[in-house]
Amino acid sequence: MIRSELIQKLADENPHLYQRDVERIVNAIFEEIIEAMANGNRVELRGFGAFSVKKRDARVGRNPRTGESVEVEEKHVPFFKAGKLLRDRLNGQDA
């Protein structure tokens, strides 16, 4: 399933909404999640999962081609953990 299919499906279920608005709705949801993480916040969606930000410490890396050492700065990366309900559903324990 891709973004446009999700939008189409939601539009089909909601014939009273303009397709353009459904698009804005779906985009607003994903945008809000990214924005939250960019601000260092966490997004917890019970049953589905949680998006959070993890810190990666600075380290000395190596250029695999030349073997040269390079300083890698500390950075923050997005992380997602599936919720219990979804994990259970993936394994056939429908709730």
Binding site: A28, I29, M37, N41, V43, G47, V53, K55, K75, V77
Partner: protein
């Protein structure tokens, strides 16, 4: 870093602000989006949201695990796990936004 936790309510609020729908309908739409994504994943489908990221389901075969406390061997049944791969855009924005 702020360290707040957002929930469905905040996503509904974002939808409410974006389009002139009631708060109730906004909340229902957020719920449906999460349900449709979950259902696709349960069906074994990949969910690919451009400029956000990709959720995929991986199958893991059975293996023998060990209780780290007692050292006892326990069978771990085959299972399906969900992985999320963030898009470059998400990684870049999260890295830039949290820069010290």
């Amino acid at each position: 870093m702020a360290g707040k936790t957002l929930t469905r309510m905040d996503l509904s609020e974002a939808v409410f602000r974006e389009v002139g729908l009631s708060r109730n309908e906004s909340a229902q739409l957020v719920e449906r989006v999460l349900e449709m994504m979950s259902d696709a994943l349960v069906e074994g489908e990949q969910v690919k949201i451009s400029s956000f990221g990709t959720f995929s389901v991986r199958s893991k075969s059975a293996r023998v695990g060990r209780n780290p406390k007692t050292g006892e061997e326990v069978p771990i049944s085959p299972r399906r796990v969900l992985t999320f791969r963030p898009s470059h855009l998400m990684k870049d924005r999260v890295a830039a936004g949290n820069k010290a």
